[in-house]
Symmetry: C2
Subunit: 253 residues, 2 copies
């Protein structure tokens, strides 16, 4: 499978068919020193959210020049922006959630503190740059056109207001226990057919679960409480169930 | 959330309302020495694929006796047996696939060698007991009624023959590349409404992908090649997409 990389400076590539040591250091280094590319090798490069098959003409001390760029038409992005709101989790759990959610099409990850959060989001703010790197690597590996963003939003749950372009759901175990089995699919289908909705914001509680008052807050902000099936899913697994379901209903049905 | 445990000796529990150091050593140890349960504490115990809310009457040197057992009617198991066939993967990847697949309802995991397998299944046969432990812990944690089984089947791909009670799919990247977007959902829906089908066997290739001849072999054995969406999923992620999709279409639609 052809390796794919996101360029830092798209303009250099699109205007000069060049990736230089100065303006696209990471990709330059990776192509020249890691992959050791040579003339006629082909790689996939992403510039301004478009992917190109680029065949290499020449590799020099400071530049890699491409002979021709072939735009790749296939769009691997979901038509609806998928935002997940999660509690900070133990570092290894969160890191693989970020990688897997990226493979499954997530657009944005918002970290916030829940009543029952074990790890405090404020504690992991300093790790955001590391998490962003994980997201970029996963986006390249899964051949995405965009790198999901990650941020820490204090008091997201108290402040959130859905716009007319957004829909919201919150994963709620009690909903399953009460036998609710239709809201997840029906909400995703409604979002799919409503051209006004551009983003689905999905909230997932921490290991300790989401509190009654947090559910009330979100419900009053028009977030639909949904069950994710009859089995208990861990905090880092539930978002993958949602993203897989959204992909199935939006992209494969 | 009430802790759930699978009993080794169901009969002792059902006939004597007792968990003894001799016949149910693991659960006895966990309840007495780890959870330090006392009179009137309530735990969930699984005996003969039924779950019971059991309140503790007395804890002695060698026995834990329960005052009453209340059967839990809720069934968290998928109505169709979900078997996944995967290549051995790097140990940590395989171990978390086992945990997540269990949360998502898998019934059986078959490890076999693919043409492009990086890790050889024969190499990890000795790890099967460890993997079985991971599956049991995950089944307890996700409140399943059964523990998924795992086995190594040499030459599964060459030998497999679907019975009239089984349906089969094989995840195939090329299928997505060719724009196929309907076979996964249509196959799961067909399985759901066909009372004759009791098991869905899903095959997933290794990191290096599945070979053309393996796809041919499986297709000639009536396995349906299906795409899992427009993004490249890692070997350990693809089965989670399938299991989530099956849960959504079978349990939540």
């Amino acid at each position: 499978m052809t390796a794919r990389f996101f360029l830092d400076n798209s303009r250099e590539f699109l205007e000069k068919k060049t990736v230089s040591k100065d303006l696209n250091a990471d990709v330059f280094h990776h192509l020249r020193d890691v992959l050791r590319v040579k003339t006629d090798d082909v790689v996939e490069l992403v510039a301004d959210r478009k992917a190109y098959l680029a065949s290499i003409q020449i590799v020099t001390e400071n530049n890699i020049v491409f002979s021709q760029l072939k735009a790749i038409v296939k769009d691997p992005e979901l038509p609806i922006k998928m935002t997940i709101v999660v509690s900070p989790l133990k570092s290894d759990h969160l890191e693989w959630l970020l990688q897997k959610a990226t493979e499954l099409g997530v657009s944005k990850i918002i970290l916030t503190d829940f009543a029952y959060s074990v790890v405090r989001a404020s504690k992991i703010e300093k790790k955001l740059p590391r998490y962003q790197k994980i997201l970029k690597a996963a986006a390249e590996q899964s051949h995405r056109l965009l790198v999901p963003e990650i941020m820490y939003e204090k008091n997201f749950l108290k402040r959130v207001v859905l716009t007319s372009k957004q829909a919201g759901i919150v994963a709620w175990e009690e909903s399953s226990k009460q036998g609710e089995t239709s809201k997840l699919a029906s909400t995703i289908k409604a979002v799919k057919i409503d051209p006004a909705i551009k983003e689905l914001i999905s909230v997932f509680g921490p290991e300790g679960g989401i509190s009654q008052s947090e559910i009330k807050e979100l419900a009053s902000a028009a977030f639909v409480p949904v069950g994710l099936g009859p089995r208990i899913l861990r905090a880092e697994t539930a978002p993958l169930y949602l993203l897989s379901s959204a992909s199935l209903l939006i992209e494969l049905s």
